[in-house]
Amino acid sequence: MKLTLKVWRQDGNDSDGRFENYELDGVSEDSSFLEMMDQLNEQLLSQGIEPVLFDHDCREGICGTCSLTINGYAHGPEDSTTTCQLHMRKFRDGETITIEPFRAKAFPVVRDLVVDRSAFDRITQAGGFITVRTGSAPDGNALPVAKSDSDKAMDAAACIGCGACVASCKNASAMLFTSAKAGHLNLLPQGQAEKDKRVLAMVSAMDEAGFGNCRNYGECSAACPKDISLDYIAKLNRDHAKAKIKKFFS
């Protein structure tokens, strides 16, 4: 395959970015998108051009490190797929592919296509955990959990924290991420003790990070590689309202 790559280059968050066009020949249809990016970087290195920086780690679709907005789609045009699991056979020979970073004020650009997603870590640190006694593991069946609850909790826990929800949202809202991280704990008995505190703290951390507001477009869920449902956002809205009312009257 022969491709024209229109790649976003930016030295840092304070400098202006620009698009650079690169021609890349001999791309295998069987290679993944990131392997194609590796091939591009080898070519750039041999030409004495600084390689394009991009995030990647497991390349198995489970770590949430890879990002990239490809032809306007977070993680590319394939549904339920991360960039690392996207293959070049999904593109046409001779196609121009536009590659941009995940764009949001809360995700400052580190360099080129790498953005700083530590705002997500701050949301998780604010309440995305349960406080338990460490030491010997408790018996697995000591706490009964309804199958329907554990299924819902697992669906929310599938969030890999990649940030595609923020990148695809017109308002760069982090509601899908926050609702999934709060939701999987709020659905389980182990998460009940700190539920109200968790919801209030995580929403505050989300607001402080400078994410936008949810307008119920559903773009986040459509772009999510793990298909997290908008229902978790509704649940976060409900849990947050309950927590606020309880706090008001306590």
């Binding site: 017109k170 908008l230 509704a234 809205n237 409900r238 849990d239």
Partner: protein, 250 residues
Amino acid sequence: MFSSSLGKKYLMALSGIVLVGFVLVHMAGNLQVFAGQEQINSYAHSLQSLPWFVLWGSRLILLSAILIHAWTAYSLIMENKAARPNTNDIEITKRAGWSSLRMGLTGSIILAFVVFHLLHFTIRLIYPEYSEMMTTVGSPDEREIHDAFSMIISGFKNDFVSVFYIVAMFLLCRHLAHGFSSVFQSLGIRSESWRKKLDLLSVAYAWIIFAGFSIVPLSVMAQKYQIFESYDSTFFPPSMEEPTPKHSKK
């Protein structure tokens, strides 16, 4: 209580639901024009003769709902713009519909319409002669009351007024289609099984509101331009064809 990003969404939803309810009651009131001059005049008079605290209380609630809805929307939109300062080179919309993406635009035009509508019929600044349209038809006693029927017929005989009215009602329909279902999402009172039903209810409600409001100017225009061959003259009596203050006064 309402300081967080979610708190603002609660304000949008709560003020929105007041206005959603109001348009239905207003539509039901308007449709009484088809029951004849006596019916609508006496209905309009009974509303204006409500005890002052009920009348002004309701007006205050409606005005507050509009102000809260508009101000919160403005504040949310400004925050959203700040959260996503850079747009993608290719901007893709996967799921969001026309209505949901243009709530600010439709809302602003509806607000402009509401101001015009109040100046037109309630405060009667645009056509001061409406204040002169008095009649005893529909009056509970022999005293003269506002001739709401003649005001409606005369108002909609103006092509500009009718077209603006119908366009505004169409935009209201699109605004409600996204807004009504968003109320349930923002307040968290929905689940996966209810999602489709609530979306359907919202769309149906929006079209009922559009049809119920638009049929009045459409009927008046049909009469004016003689679109149909026969008319029920009891709906639009010949004496109402050219209502002038002098005529109504006698």
